[in-house]
């Protein structure tokens, strides 16, 4: 094989730094249900450092039919699910360490202690799988209090849910799918101006050179000429921009042959618009970071340094320094690339000085990484589960629902938010009856399921009404025509039908999403779900 590194395919997504962050993390799974073990599988395979599985269940035959990491042997005494799941998960990857803990009852665990134990020397991330509401609230509150990130994963019949709860996150490495290049043609740095001037008049160039001038140079020179003829203004109206595009074409000698002029025309906007960083946005991020005592000192230092840089440079951000490929002779391309690179290095050095000689330990890589993402900085503050369930936040939800009803292609009944509300109703049902709707109480003499489960539908429908009332959604059109429509108990019927069924495919989908979000939280790369 061309490489012996089994992590090659994922290193191309998050690099050695991300891989190290994974290796430095312990993932604690509470309840080894299918959704839980699937989440953990997708973290063991990429090489998380350590796993801990905590559960109070004993393996049953039903478990083994829907949970790949549980084996049931009728000839042996039944084993704790934590033990079986842990062994089968760890076996996937010899790089991963770990342990399991079988407890008598998850309700009686001291979660403060548990969290403290496993976060002592390592970064900890908690996965709560298929957890009943009371327990979920307890654990999520303890995680929030200890600033430990937590992911809730649940499969419930044909629906599933993933919810992330983490301390405020600095999104300093979002890796957006597409970025516009940072060419700085509107406020060019001195070395770039010097270089463009040194080329002289484009019209004086020989044919071959003319067709190999890199498009940033073309755009800069033409925009300067444009300014000279337009009162020192760059194109701003739609007509002016169209005119500028035509101007570029006019300046080419053989339009069909000069690819660099095509590139200039395609990227004409870079001549008159520039990426900027809004100082007030950075100030607001700094405020958020400082206010939340959870933010790392590195985050605060970097933001402060950036503000200093912006102030010193009239709002100009440090240069990115990368140049996309473009039609040019090798020598001119390499030279231009070097100019951008050198300027970026200068800016980076200045930013490093502003980071100062504080007690904060920061690597050059940290600063470089921050610089490279200076246009996409965000801080994400996630509402805790407790707040979600306590607060009434009608406006947000109502607006989302209105968007859903506005989409002509969205089938109203498939709006995920409706099913979320339905699930909330199931939680209320559980708090009331200590079981989920549709779970039938069976007499030993009568094994018929029959219509027993339907008895729960009425109560569930009441709970749905209660949720809608609590969240002040009873006047929303979509709600009125679906969840609360008279004589329409479709949602309640369907949810009761599920009886909290563990369907492997659903568990696997939410397990995939939950693990993907866990990776983003652990590596600090890409943009995590909020929430």
């Amino acid at each position: 094989m061309a490489t012996t590194d089994k992590y090659d395919r994922q290193l191309r997504l998050w690099g050695a730094k991300g891989q190290k962050a994974l290796g430095d993390t312990t993932v604690l799974l509470i309840r080894a249900t299918a959704a839980g073990t699937e989440t953990l599988k997708n973290l063991v395979l990429p090489g998380v450092g350590n796993i801990v599985v905590v559960d109070d269940a004993i393996v049953t035959e039903e478990d083994a039919a829907s949970n790949f990491f549980v084996i049931f042997d009728a000839k042996q005494p039944a084993k704790p699910r934590a033990e079986v799941a842990f062994e089968l998960l760890q076996e996937l990857n010899p790089d991963v360490q770990g342990s399991y803990q079988h407890v008598d009852s998850l309700q009686r665990v001291n979660y403060e202690e548990l969290l403290a134990t496993h976060s002592a020397n390592t970064n900890l991330l908690v996965i709560c799988a298929d957890m009943e509401p009371a327990l979920l609230m307890e654990i999520s509150s303890k995680c929030a209090a200890a600033s430990i990130a937590m992911v809730q994963v649940q499969s419930y019949g044909m629906i599933g849910l993933v919810r992330t709860q983490a301390p405020p996150l600095a999104i300093f490495d979002p890796k957006p799918a597409s970025t516009t290049p940072d060419l700085r043609l509107v406020t060019p740095f001195p070395a770039l101006v010097e270089y463009c001037n040194s080329i002289g008049d484009l019209e004086a160039l020989a044919d071959h050179e003319h067709s190999h001038v890199p498009y940033p140079v073309i755009l800069y020179k033409l925009s300067q000429q444009y300014k000279a003829e337009h009162n020192d203004q760059l194109p701003s109206t739609y007509q002016e921009k169209q005119d500028f595009r035509a101007y570029i074409k006019d300046n080419s000698r053989k339009w069909d042959m000069e690819v660099n002029y095509h590139e200039a025309q395609n990227n004409a906007y870079l001549a008159y618009s520039e990426k900027t960083v809004d100082s007030s946005h950075v100030e607001s991020l700094l405020q958020q970071a400082t206010a939340s005592s959870m933010s790392s000192p590195t985050t605060i230092t970097l933001l402060q340094a950036l503000l200093q840089f912006l102030n010193a440079h009239n709002g100009q951000a440090p240069l990115q320094g990368t140049l996309p490929d473009m039609t040019a002779s090798t020598a001119t391309y390499v030279h231009l690339q070097q100019l951008y690179h050198d300027q970026a290095q200068r800016d980076l050095a200045e930013l490093t000085v502003y980071c100062g000689t504080t007690t904060v330990t920061m690597t050059d890589e940290d600063i470089r990484g921050f610089c490279a993402n200076v246009f996409d900085l965000e801080i994400v503050v996630m509402r805790s589960l407790q707040d979600e369930y306590d607060a009434t936040m009608p406006q947000e939800i109502v607006e989302d629902l209105q968007c859903a009803t506005g989409d002509p292609y969205e089938i109203p009944e498939q709006t995920p938010l409706l099913w979320y509300l339905g699930l909330r109703a199931c939680y209320l049902f559980h708090l009331d009856r200590q079981r989920y709707p549709g779970m039938v109480l069976v007499d030993s003499s009568d094994s018929s399921d029959a219509a027993d489960w339907e008895q729960d539908v009425d109560l569930l429908q009441q709970k749905i009404q209660q949720v809608c009332l609590d969240l002040q959604l009873t006047n929303c059109d979509l709600i009125q025509t679906t969840l609360l429509a008279a004589n329409n108990r479709k949602f309640a019927l369907e949810l009761a039908r599920y009886a909290n069924a563990e369907i492997h495919t659903i568990a696997s989908v939410v397990g995939g999403v939950a693990s993907q979000e866990a990776v983003k939280l652990i590596t600090g790369q890409y943009v995590p779900l909020n929430n």
Partner: protein, 459 residues
């Protein structure tokens, strides 16, 4: 799904108050629960109704899915046993579908191990299909997964016709086109020209790349097929040769130079083996040399591999999501227990979590799933060979087309004897061979079993 009650009635008491209650975890529902209870959202209620859901009669206290029709009777084919394939097999095993066959031509590489979880270090070098089948059959004793180590093209259409459902976890466009054409080609028509539903075999197709992926349902002749969406997969563009040879600017150009130009010069007899560390090292070193010559930074061994092998980043989580979505569709298609995906779901997980589902419409003139006669306006002076080139390089993107008219064979790629006999026609002009407005039948190795009708009109 039954709850054992303790002697004392369960109350609404707060579990945190006083002595915590003894709560036996109530048994959750299972697939059996879903299959035995009616649903207002069953298949017939959806936009793509597949059949009417009939809940199973009261389920005895058995937890085994082994005898649950129609799952137990279903035969499912998994195409590809890699990142998606391993997940597909697991998901099928956990969904009561025990008769499964899997086909893959590949052997296991160490770089598979971060996600193809049915394989271990000791399996490196072995057949993917065989290892995967063996693992599943051992972990899940109710399964009988049969492995086929080989290419999909080696199997006759009758092989594909023997399945109720085909799930594809392929990693390239050509294989998908072939599979799609073959399965669509199985559909028979009755006297009224309507497709015979018993010959329609659903294809569920999944694909992933990094944090993104998609799953789609193809009902041959009913919904859009893979070929309908061919435009969405433009042929891979390589770097212009003049850039590689004369004006390299990027490390990728240097790597392309070493592999495309230097290697054949140095080793005219030997094809570059992308799995050989020696070969890759050679390319890397040559690329590095060239990059130094031109002052171009960035040539690394990792980049070299990425460029040459066209590596797509891959992780377990995305594969898990897409595969599970695919098997979920299979489950619904076989049992009608819920609404079928209509027809295409996109998933994007790098920034937040987004999913978009839409109906991928049939293409009016799809050569595979419509019977439309395509018209081409061509110069009468064009040679037959030029027409063949257009069929290969144009929109149709055929591989090696053969042409016949109602009365004669114009050119056949196979068998050799027929090829030789018709070769002389390649240089003849269309005017000599055809009348304007005449209809040709085109067949191609890419679109097995499909006859494409082409009407040629002279300009």
């Amino acid at each position: 799904m039954s709850t054992k009650r303790t002697a004392s009635e369960m109350t609404n008491g707060d579990p945190n108050e006083g002595e915590p209650m003894e709560i036996d975890h109530p048994k959750r529902g299972s697939l059996l629960t879903l299959l035995s209870r009616p649903s207002p959202f069953a298949s017939e209620s959806g936009a793509l109704p597949m059949g009417e859901f009939e809940p199973m009669v009261a389920v005895a206290p058995t937890t085994s899915l082994a005898n649950v029709e129609p799952l137990a009777a279903a035969k499912v084919l998994v195409v590809g046993s890699g990142g998606l394939g391993c997940e597909l097999l697991k998901d099928l095993a956990m969904s009561g579908i025990s008769s499964v066959e899997v086909i893959d031509l590949d052997t296991i590489d160490v770089t598979n191990l971060n996600r193809q979880f049915l394989f271990r270090q000791t399996d490196v070098g072995s057949s993917k299909a065989k290892c995967a089948a063996a693992f599943i059959n051992k972990r899940c004793p109710w399964m009988t997964v049969v492995a086929h180590h080989g290419t999909i093209q080696d199997k006759p259409p009758s092989f594909y016709a023997s399945f109720n459902c085909i799930i594809s976890g392929l990693d390239n466009v050509e294989a998908r086109r072939w599979l799609n054409a073959t399965v669509c080609g199985l559909v028979q028509f009755d006297e009224d020209g309507d497709p015979d539903p018993t010959t329609i075999i659903p294809i569920i197709d999944g694909g992933t790349e990094g944090f993104s992926g998609q799953a789609r349902v193809i009902l041959p002749r009913i919904t859009s097929c893979f070929e309908c969406s061919l435009d969405a997969f433009p042929p891979q563009r390589s770097f212009p040769l003049c850039t590689i040879a004369e004006t390299p600017r990027r490390p990728e150009h240097c790597i392309a130079y070493a592999s495309i130009l230097q290697w054949p010069k140095e080793f005219p007899e030997k094809k570059l083996d992308t799995d050989s560390p020696d070969d890759m090292k050679w390319v890397y070193e040559k690329a590095l040399e060239r990059s130094k010559q031109y002052n171009i930074p960035g040539v690394t061994y990792m980049l070299t591999m990425g460029v040459i092998k066209n590596i797509i980043p891959a992780v377990a989580s995305t594969n898990a999501i897409v595969s599970a979505a695919c098997v979920n569709e299979a489950l619904k298609l076989l049992t009608f227990c819920s609404q079928t995906l209509n027809t295409y779901m996109m998933y994007m997980g790098s920034s937040g979590v987004y999913s978009h589902t839409f109906v991928y419409e049939k293409k009016d003139d799809c050569p595979v799933c419509t019977s439309t006669v395509r018209t081409m306006k061509l110069s009468r002076h064009l040679s037959l060979n030029q027409l063949l080139q257009e069929l290969k390089n144009g929109d149709l993107r055929l591989q090696s087309p053969s042409l016949t008219t109602a009365t004669k064979t114009l050119y056949m790629q196979k068998p050799p004897a027929l090829e030789k006999a018709t070769r002389a026609n390649l240089d003849k002009t269309l005017a000599v061979l055809l009348e304007s407005g005449e209809e040709l039948t085109v067949t191609d190795s890419m679109l097995e079993n499909i006859n494409l009708s082409l009407r040629i009109e002279f300009e």
